[in-house]
């Protein structure tokens, strides 16, 4: 479906807490067409949740405008066009999982079949359990089922995988992509680059209340997706390793070296070919936090 999905213009919000004012969002512009899946990526305190609160009508912007499917946020919510899985939160007690999903679906004009929502969220096994007896991961899945049950045009997920283990995450994202493939618009917040990369058409990278990068995952990865290779490799000068393709910097601590890479795949291939005695290899994604700090320094 073509048409305006989400349009944020000049959005600004400052919270007034006991520690003084905190400028959470400092004037952002985002336009998401219908049917697109967009990741809002950023470290804690980047302004992701505040942006989502304004998008859902839970917070009023100090300046700027929000339009959701051509309507004001509250209006879109009242028409049942928006489904949301908010950050954190538990469930009300004394209902079974199926009853809770059924009740929630009943609040919307055009809900999914309860069975469909339960299946998508992987809840068939716990359908008759009381909500207060669920594990943290199951609770998250129920909250996802509630958002799905509303069968919204716009699905908003604020750090949805926080309490989930690896397998649960995989199932969750599979379900999200299946739902998105029905022509729905999805906006999710995360602080994991991998999640954003694998599940979004586009990444909006936020740091310190501003948008730093807005583009396809490849573009964002090129800016922040550095990886580090660590290895035990005595007797090779750091300066020599720095010459390897894909390597940007090298540090040495005794027998172990750390290579900061722009392309770890390429560097690793050459490294193993040229130094067969390299041991204890470890490849890790560089902390996004570090990348954000770099990027915001660039932006300032």
């Amino acid at each position: 479906m073509v048409g305006p999905g989400v349009v944020l213009e000049g959005l600004t919000k400052t919270w007034h807490g006991p520690g003084g004012p905190v400028a959470a969002v400092k004037g952002i512009d985002v336009s998401i067409p219908r049917g697109e899946t967009v990741a809002l990526l950023g470290p804690n305190g980047a302004g992701k949740s505040t942006t989502i609160d304004m998008l859902l009508g839970l917070a009023r912007p100090d300046r700027g405008t929000v339009s959701v499917l051509g309507r004001a946020p509250g209006d879109a919510v009242a028409h049942g066009l928006v489904g949301a899985m908010l950050q954190a939160g538990a469930l009300i007690r004394d209902l079974s999982v199926r009853e809770l999903v059924t009740m929630f679906a009943g609040l919307y004009p055009n809900p999914l079949e309860v069975d469909d929502a339960m299946r998508l969220a992987g809840l068939d096994a716990v359908a008759s359990q009381r909500t207060q007896k669920l594990s943290g991961g199951e609770t998250q899945r129920v909250r996802f089922a509630l958002a799905l049950a509303s069968n919204p045009e716009l699905l908003v997920l604020d750090e949805p995988t926080v309490a989930m283990d690896v397998e649960a995450r995989r199932g969750f994202w599979r379900a999200m992509r299946e739902f998105a493939s029905r022509g729905k618009t999805v906006l999710f917040a995360t602080h994991y680059l991998d999640e954003a990369d694998q599940n979004a058409d586009r990444i909006v990278l936020m740091a310190q209340g501003r948008i730093v990068v807005d583009g396809p995952p490849t573009e964002v990865k090129a800016r922040v997706g550095t990886r580090t290779i660590r290895a035990t490799l005595p007797d090779v000068p750091a300066a020599e390793l720095e010459q390897l393709p894909g390597v940007t910097a090298v540090t040495r601590h005794g027998a172990s070296v750390t290579l900061v890479c722009s392309s770890s795949d390429e560097a690793l291939r050459i490294l193993l070919g040229r130094y067969p005695d390299a041991r204890d290899l470890e490849v890790t994604g560089a902390g996004l936090e570090d990348a954000f700090v770099e990027l915001t320094r660039d932006a300032a």
């Binding site: 839970l58 209902l95 059924t102 909250r143």
Partner: protein
């Protein structure tokens, strides 16, 4: 019909809560038999002009129903704590349907409390014509209006830790000065008691003997309290949720 769906499940989960049955229903019944049982042949209890069973049937109904009404506050505070109130705000459920469900649920619990005390009263020999039962029940329902608002007010104002002492303390003090435990016919508490809405709740017991126990004073008192607490509840709800 979104509001009715919400109401139906709100009732269902409230009645599954065992603590409610113990404290809001069981406790007043147990007290009733403990206090009124030994005095069941007292015909003018404490100068009230009422038999002890009738007096305590209504007195403990007042206590049980007040508890039932303000326990809405505890449920609301609990829902706020787990983020459920916020979750509901991003659904099409309107403020009116939300608040209506809370009030109707509170009245349903209060209705059970009254009915269980009526049955207990009948067991101890309270016998009133059907018309008087109905009239008395209507007065009790009206006198509970301020308490419906009080529950919503406190629930959206206080957190989970504060709500228990706040509602329990409020109801206990009001019950005491209103004559729930024993008749308060004179003195300081009598003077103060007439200004609180629960006093008129207890006075509903006089329906079987003199028909109209409130008079202008009682009606005015109940209506003013209703207006004040509905205003306060609306304020707390708006402040808490940011809704209009």
């Amino acid at each position: 019909m979104t509001g009715l769906t919400y109401l139906r499940y709100e009732l269902r989960r409230t009645f599954r809560n065992r603590r409610f049955f113990v404290f809001s229903l069981g406790f007043p019944i147990a007290l009733f038999f403990m206090i009124a049982g030994p005095n069941r042949h007292t015909h003018d209890f404490g100068g009230s002009g009422l038999s002890a069973p009738l007096y305590y049937m209504v007195g403990l109904s007042s206590f049980g129903t007040m508890m039932a009404m303000v326990s809405t506050g505890a449920r609301i505070a609990g829902e706020r704590q787990v983020g459920w109130t916020r979750q509901l705000r991003v659904t099409p459920l309107s403020s009116r349907d939300y608040l209506r469900a809370k009030v109707v649920t509170a009245y349903a619990m209060a209705g059970l409390s009254v009915a269980s005390l009526y049955v207990s009263g009948a067991i101890l020999g309270v016998s009133i014509p059907v018309g008087k039962w109905i009239q008395m029940t209507i007065l009790i329902a009206i006198a509970l209006l301020p308490f419906a608002a009080l529950g919503i007010f406190l629930g959206h104002l206080l957190n989970v830790d504060a709500i228990g002492p706040a509602t329990g303390g409020t109801v206990t003090v009001l019950a005491f000065i209103s004559g729930t435990w024993f008749p308060v016919n004179s003195g300081f508490f009598h003077a103060v008691g007439q200004f609180v809405p629960s006093y008129w709740l207890v006075q509903a017991a006089h329906v079987p003997t003199n028909g109209q126990p409130w008079g202008t004073r009682g009606w005015a008192d109940v209506l003013v309290w209703t207006a004040v607490l509905v205003g306060a509840a609306g304020y707390a709800y708006r402040r808490d949720t940011g809704r209009l």
